[in-house]
Symmetry: C2
Subunit: 345 residues, 2 copies
């Protein structure tokens, strides 16, 4: 299968994915009969370039990495904006990787809808649209007979959505719980070793795990978005951000951490949701004191983990990275491989 892709947004994740397809092109062709060609790149800051016969992505990547405008690319059509790139190029697959706004989902939401309604597949690591309207977007994709993949919105490249909807499908999944935010897990790991919250946060910022304003991580907002996505997609239940009880880790003291350790327990920020007997959903993000016998208790540092409750297998847990340029870029590849098999049926 030949895939013609257009990038909408060309930041670190898009660049990570470009590196992967440049390095692994022949492997993808051989293993999965996938030939990937990039025909367009449009970025609000870096500019835009389109060549229906395919771009030389080594050149494009080099421009982006050297902070040069994409219009320096020697050939092709310049200056097309996001929506023109989505609707007026010969791309059949749009990689939507603009910045995330989980409150409005914009501008990504508009981009994705435009692409799906134009009969184009969409692969995206953008949390905003998935948090706001995952179910609607999946339905729009289905109606237009195209694919919408957003694996990277949950655990970056560690399979969560594809694991549930493909590899574990056949199970009824009735709930999940997980360590869905790496920054807070890193901070809690350091605190158990005796480091103060403030120092641990500073270290997380130095390592690039936490942003200058850490509210999204430490108050549980990032984990909350993932709970919403998983509930809508994996549990098949409507849930919006305001339906989730939320508590971050800022209220956890060194004494709390020590006390838990003395009793063979460990604090983790857990995002969870479970279908209730009346078929409603109870969802929360909150610090929980786990016994060390819980597989999630053994997940330390910035690592993420997710346990699905299944009817056939009982709890099944996946543990892996939850962030990173290559890791998140890789999520787009998982989606593309899955797309390949889903649409050829």
């Amino acid at each position: 299968m030949n895939v013609n892709i257009a990038f909408v947004g060309y930041g670190t994740v898009a660049q990570g994915f470009t590196e992967i397809i440049l390095e692994k092109g022949s492997q993808l062709k051989e293993q999965h009969d996938l030939s990937i060609q990039v025909v367009a790149v449009s970025d609000i800051k870096k500019g835009s370039i389109y060549d229906e016969k395919g771009l030389n992505m080594k050149k494009v990547l080099s421009l982006a990495k050297n902070n040069k405008p994409l219009e320096d690319y020697p050939e092709g059509i310049k200056g097309m904006n996001s929506l023109e790139t989505i609707t007026k190029t010969n791309a059949d697959t749009i990689i939507e990787v603009t910045y995330t706004d989980v409150k409005t989902g914009e501008p990504a939401l508009t981009h994705i809808k435009a692409a799906l309604n134009a009969g184009k597949h969409v692969l995206s690591t953008n949390k905003g649209p998935a948090v706001k309207q995952a179910a609607l977007l999946l339905e729009t994709a289905r109606k237009n007979n195209v694919y919408y993949g957003f694996e990277g919105t949950v655990l970056s490249g560690t399979p969560a959505l594809n694991l549930a909807s493909y590899t574990l499908s056949g199970n009824k999944i009735t709930g999940f719980k997980g360590i869905l935010n790496g920054t807070t897990n890193y901070i809690l790991t350091r605190m158990e070793e005796g480091m103060s919250y403030e120092k641990a946060l500073k270290k997380a910022q130095e390592l690039g795990y936490a942003e200058a304003d850490p509210t999204g991580d430490v108050e549980g907002l990032d984990a909350l978005g993932k709970v919403v996505i998983l509930t809508n997609v994996v549990l098949g239940k409507e849930l919006s951000r305001t339906d989730v009880k939320r508590k971050g880790i800022t209220g956890i003291s060194m004494d709390d951490v020590k006390h838990a350790k003395e009793h063979g327990k460990r604090w983790k920020l857990i995002g969870r949701a479970e279908i209730q007997k009346d078929s409603s959903v109870l969802a929360s993000v909150s610090p929980e004191k786990l016994p060390l016998s819980d597989p999630l208790a053994g997940v330390n540092e910035a690592v993420n983990a997710l346990t699905f409750m299944t009817d056939e297998l009982g709890p099944v847990t996946i543990i892996g990275p939850g962030a990173g340029k290559r890791e998140t870029g890789f999520a787009l590849l998982i989606d593309m491989i899955n797309m390949k098999y889903q649409i050829s049926r």
Copy 2:
């Protein structure tokens, strides 16, 4: 897609799979466009029944559960042996679930080769053939343009082979390590709580985890077979049983367990293999003292776990059941769903 299946062997796993397809038929049709019909069942002890128009599996299951001969089924053709059932029925997919012999692989090996060479798909939870000749059987399947799935040979229904070859594909997997045997993990968990090896083994036997002769589990032979399968299939390297260094858990004393616990460590029977710089493979089954920070250290009771070393994501770990009637039956369903997408490309 319509699938006509024949069971060769009709023990607990086959019955577990029958229950699953009886209960989940409409879900499989809706989610994956899979319509499954059983046309034949042949078992060396229970007898054999064939109806090209499809068997009433509720009746067949009831006969098997009540220890009645399958020939009591009211209609159809009786008395076909395994090879006749494989080659002379209208089944397009053979479920090979006869007893396992990891030394010779027989009679399953003969069954599987006959099926693949007759242009029939094979789904099997039988370790013997996979340990002996996984690579050859996969090649035979490829040549005949059919599918050979054997997910259940590693962690029962917890996805291991499908996780690696599908959901994580795009990664280069350079090694793995895992808790591949539930019985020994159960015994080590009890020993850490202070129970003697002998008592823990007896308890494992009472619970049905360990057999009357526990050698296969406690001496690491079962785990060894899984290391061989994973190395051949996931690492793509030839390895036979005699290439693996093996040590069981019988040499681990209460003192060893206590000593590890005092130092924040925990004994686990670890099966592992890693591709070396000269591209050879180093593989072993051996008790290892893991630090509690290792995700595998937090996996207790009869639960299994497997960590893949990947180039894009680093270590990715899956944790779930490694045995059980429904769980292993479910592995056949994972394979069938994967088969559906693979062959329709």
